[in-house]
Symmetry: C2
Subunit: 495 residues, 2 copies
């Protein structure tokens, strides 16, 4: 693949000058258009050491308004970053709508340099690539324009440049010992790069291979392609077909199981049983907490459920015995404006629990296929796509060692009414009941369809749903803790 590149391609100074000026002016107005149309852009620069990536970024930003872009030099992850899935640090750096992010090296170091220096296990490489493809597709589907460049050099040119830089007092500090290794292992590195290019050059975000021996040629090629990518993305915005209005689905399709209806809501515990079992489960959980910490296992427990199903109370009993330094409860209501400016999973990525701690999410990314679907905040295309996005996201967590526990707290419609009325009459609980709760209640059948479909499409072996019969609060609370401790124990056993 890479050997088919004609590295002799070059541009003379005059041609270069006449072309580059137009390209840069063009890029400047494209940046302005991105800003106005709120189009986010990601530019990835990979390639050999000394391939001129720095000079390229400089050229690209040369005509841009510095307030509209950010440059992210990527090094091996810090100890803090290593406590998260490898894509975490890139999610943190995601450009907001309207901005451009330049990644000088990127997530691809995990299948390139990390592979050369054996910092990643060979068996994990296909999975890492799969995660990368999912990551990029999710962003493109969200409207991000991604331009990826592989700047290629011949071995001769690479060696010459490294030598030249090393002998230049202004440049020498940039040549790392690792860079010389690229030259020594040129053929091996080419093979790794080709494998990466083949597997990650996808429809939504293809690689552009750049002949890098002549810097002028490389600059013109990169700028031309970047302009094309942005123009195309802007066009897509322009010609977007309006979403057809689909009447909300009030009933499950005949072929679909009604999982909620299968929950036996009569399950209950007496007060005496409750006290005894709660204590037993809490003690078990407390003991497990030490192992979680020692073995640096990250735990993520998410709660979804009907309004007034008792999420708050269940979370309370769960955290009661935990060391307060070891867990964090995140409640997700309406997104902040910083969150709205990025793909919807961003707000969950930024709140992920770190290794050795427990993250408890009161509501979660399932909002995309529940409230956003029912209320029409997400288009049909968006929420249908979300099942896959969610499964991919959860697979990334699981493969990074996360224990994922997902609860749907189920109650009957009658039970909800009873609790609403109780809240209305209790001055201490009144604040918990809003007019929105009543409105949601009217949409019960719509939610029932959405919940059933969500649970069915996102129950996976490593991230299964647990439906909790919550008409009886005692039963529900004990069951929640039990499910958590069981999941943790399974994890400890299978390590």
């Amino acid at each position: 693949m890479l050997d088919t590149l004609d590295l002799d391609l070059s541009l003379d100074k005059t041609t270069y000058r006449s072309q580059i000026e137009t390209l840069m002016e063009n890029l400047r107005s494209l940046q302005q258009a991105c800003w106005e149309k709120k189009l986010p852009v990601i530019v990835v620069l990979e390639g050999w050491a000394a391939a001129g990536k720095g000079a390229l970024v400089k050229k690209m930003v040369g005509y841009m308004d510095p307030r509209g872009f950010a440059v992210h030099p990527i090094w091996p992850p810090s100890p803090e970053e290593q406590k998260y899935p490898f894509l975490w640090r890139f999610w943190q750096k995601l450009p907001a709508r309207g901005s451009i992010g330049f990644f000088y090296h990127s997530w691809y170091i995990h299948v390139l340099e990390d592979r050369l220096f054996e910092r990643v296990k060979e068996g994990e490489v296909p999975m890492v690539m799969q995660h990368i493809n999912a990551f990029e597709r999710q962003l493109v589907d969200d409207g991000v324009a991604i331009a990826k460049f592989w700047i290629h050099l011949s071995q001769k040119e690479l060696k010459q440049r490294l030598k030249k830089y090393a002998s230049d007092s202004l440049q020498s500090w940039r040549v790392r010992p690792e860079d010389w290794q690229q030259e020594k292992n040129y053929d091996k590195y080419v093979a790794l790069a080709e494998e990466m290019l083949v597997h990650t050059s996808t429809g939504p975000s293809p690689w552009t291979l750049v002949e890098g021996d002549c810097q002028r040629w490389a600059k013109v090629k990169v700028l031309t392609q970047l302009s094309a990518t942005i123009t195309e993305a802007l066009d897509r915005l322009h010609y977007r077909t309006p979403t057809p209005i689909i009447p909300p689905q009030e009933q499950l399709n005949p072929s679909e199981p009604n999982l909620l209806a299968q929950v036996d809501l009569n399950q209950s515990l007496s007060r005496t049983e409750y006290k005894k079992e709660l204590l037993r489960e809490q003690v078990r959980l407390r003991k497990l907490q030490q192992s979680i910490y020692e073995q640096q296992i990250p735990i993520l427990i998410l709660f979804e459920g009907w309004d007034a199903a008792g999420k708050g109370g269940a979370i309370k009993r769960l955290t009661d015995v935990l060391d307060p330094r070891s867990y964090k409860v995140n409640a997700f209501a309406a997104p902040t404006d910083e969150e709205k400016a990025r793909q919807y999973l961003w707000r969950f990525w930024r709140r992920l629990p770190t290794a050795g701690t427990i993250g408890i999410f009161d509501r979660s990314w399932y909002g995309r296929v529940l409230v956003e679907r029912v209320e029409g905040f997400a288009t049909e295309t968006e929420w249908r796509r979300a099942y896959q996005e969610i499964n991919e996201f959860e697979a990334q967590l699981s493969s990074d060692g996360y224990v994922l526990v997902k609860f749907w707290l189920h109650i009957s419609q009658e039970q909800q009414l009873e609790r609403f009325q109780e809240r209305e009459n209790d001055s201490f609980k009144q604040y918990k009941l809003t007019s929105e709760d009543w409105r949601n209640r009217e949409k019960w059948p719509l939610y029932e369809v959405a919940v059933n479909q969500a649970i069915q499409r996102t129950s996976t072996p490593t991230a299964p749903w647990t439906l909790i019969a919550a008409n009886d609060k005692y039963y529900a609370r004990v069951k929640v803790i039990q499910t958590v401790t069981d999941a943790i124990r399974r994890k400890l056993k299978n390590r």
Copy 2:
């Protein structure tokens, strides 16, 4: 001081039970009130190892809604955190309005454990305490309620507890080698703690000394004081006197110098001079960049100035020669809602450049005493107080080694009009001109007073203002880069 504490104070179980239940119920409704009134609360727990801080936090959050608080265990700073002023990591963890942040250990480890283990220079301790006092006062002035607890133990009790924990398989992992050092150096540690308590028990945020030998006593005392602190803060909100409406100041006081009027706006460069000098300065800057990186010096350059004074163009010329990986331009317009939920300096703390890089701020914290003052977004009390807050903030940056360069780009009113008209007629620049610019222009005299007073009150030896004559863009651009390179060179010389 600490030896006056009566460590024999204790509570029997019955009294404890009757008191604690009421206290916890009370704390629960206080949390709800904090949420409703948007009152942020910070709780600091310091004291001996094994003093029961963990159990205390557990007790305090026991009745709370887990969605309204966060617990922050504080360890020695990570390598990333060490690249910022020591308070940076605590600013990052600031609770949003309405939330409660529990700091289990805190910024005080820098004058306590760091001192015992000689990780901080003795000569720097007074300055660190000064920064801490400023930090807390700024927060209290912003409406944060701060409760600080020192949990004291006798040497005998400390030793007993450490031994007990070390022999308990469920607790032993919590006893660090450092904790035994506290016991071995009991008297020295007491002396350090006393010095800390004396210097940081201030009017706005006093310490509460807690007799810790009896855990029941300690719990009741801490909960009682925390309730009192929150109640008081809520009362202050309630009885807040309305801000008197003061007519905006249209002229400087007779005793104040008009610094802007002293700028010679006739200074200019010919195109030939400009090209020559710009190149010279840019080359100098580029060479310095290497030293900045090697010596890990953080640089912060902020731009303020009249609308259309040429900030964008000056920033462009400044960054033109810089390696794009080494700088970041941050433009500050209206704050996001996450930023509005915290003290106004928070948004600048979170964007600080790290050691070895250059942060360029297009507008800055001076908005507090400029636009917020003139437009009435900040009350008179707030903007008057801000001069000191800003000076304290900048002093923290300087003492951490930051090079701080502050520009006011000055133009005449006539020059501004000319540029506005030019922008109106240039389709390419039209987007730069908004109706707000015209409105601001009408308030020129008000801004003139605000700018003059701001510059005068915040020009310090380590963070001086530079007024740039910007009627001539050529002159201004060269002068800006020159000022930056001079500042960096001074820093390199004085290290």
